[in-house]
Symmetry: D2
Subunit: 145 residues, 4 copies
Amino acid sequence: MSDRDVPSLSDIQAFFEREFPHNGTVIEQLSHHASVVRHPVGTQHLRPGQTVMGPVMMALADTAAYCCLLSRGIEQVQAVTSSLHISFLGRPVAHRDLLAEARPLKVGRRLAVVDVKIHSEGSTILVAHATVTYSMPGRSRDSAS
Amino acid sequence: MSDRDVPSLSDIQAFFEREFPHNGTVIEQLSHHASVVRHPVGTQHLRPGQTVMGPVMMALADTAAYCCLLSRGIEQVQAVTSSLHISFLGRPVAHRDLLAEARPLKVGRRLAVVDVKIHSEGSTILVAHATVTYSMPGRSRDSAS
Amino acid sequence: MSDRDVPSLSDIQAFFEREFPHNGTVIEQLSHHASVVRHPVGTQHLRPGQTVMGPVMMALADTAAYCCLLSRGIEQVQAVTSSLHISFLGRPVAHRDLLAEARPLKVGRRLAVVDVKIHSEGSTILVAHATVTYSMPGRSRDSAS
Amino acid sequence: MSDRDVPSLSDIQAFFEREFPHNGTVIEQLSHHASVVRHPVGTQHLRPGQTVMGPVMMALADTAAYCCLLSRGIEQVQAVTSSLHISFLGRPVAHRDLLAEARPLKVGRRLAVVDVKIHSEGSTILVAHATVTYSMPGRSRDSAS
């Protein structure tokens, strides 16, 4: 993989704010081996029982995993999520931000698989674990399906 | 399962509007065997490439599956998503609503598993397929973990 | 996809017996749209509680899904399982054969996704549901990862 | 959870040999926090392309995860796999044993979720990653579904 055009954390943060203005996450750390992404939690993210809604965690897992790929080159913007598996392990604390830590298990030419662990800030107890698979952009135009 | 308190489609729609005001889905059909839920698609749901963002489909799958459980009795409001697996099969059409059709594969005393198929309105091509698992509310207070 | 070399049910059965002699399954029906595969159940497939072991069902799901791809052309023999998700829904009957019905949800140029439902012979109750994803053989030599 | 009847590694190895005589795995390490299980690889485990068949890795993931639960008390023998998700990341080396390392992500009263990483002996490259969910045995008789 070419190292030209390797984007910085602030490049990727700006990309998300421009392309996904409703995303709302903040990238905390970024390297080829791991990313940490924060999701601020407000009242609109809660469900009955004073806990965070599942879809907030699914979107956060997808964002954190995607950051791992983007850190390898801006052409990865064309990577497409092909599947996501998430296990909900416990109730997040209602008024604490969520932090997702993503680590690539494999980055191949056709598929990438990223492991994501989510916990509430200030706690080490996992609230969710996800495995996210991406179909990688082809070098030629073979990424359509 | 008791049939007292079996809620109607409009009861469940009102529940979603009250408890999940940002959810934005519309229940189209509801029975013990299937639910159909619509997600109106606007500009805020699109990602680069003029297609619908993955998290919109994940949230829709979770909502449609949850409706299947709620239709069996309002006490199912305490069912908690324990895992969700989604395969993204193709790009949704950018300015068409999404429709999710959910069918329970199993409704047990401890776990329920629901199959969800998503397509763009006016098309029969699947854009996503999900399997959603719920931990069912205990009869006594044993649903905490 | 080329239609040359479309194999018959007995071609595929012979392929399994030659290449996977311990597989033990019998193809019952085969078309582009569905396959039905039988797994004879003997004492060696049972676990404590007089029910069939989970790995038997996982192997059967993989075989039935693979048959759907093979029916499209013998070059699909190079398709590789990239992920498998299975939900166990109930206990199979101990001394009944298992039947798996596989239907492709998508057959793309890079990925195929197949839905598989498993039940005991003589029963309509599902015992397992699987989603199996394959990385498809490249036209040129790009299938290595 | 009671600590009476916490079985040793050799107790669990003997249990597998008695109850699952075709399992063929060897427990290498065992604690509340992790288990390592070896699967000897012979000719009967290979598929065309001189690599190990997927179902061998699925069965190994299930065994390694189950060992983590059994290490907590022999009553866990009644835990039942409710779902398994596996990503195949690369081709195992043909004539090397496989090693699976399992770590519980959560052990709750109703569900346990275990993370499993598989690699060929002598290599640090992952060949598969699985997430295995178990429905835990009830304290009273409520584990039937």
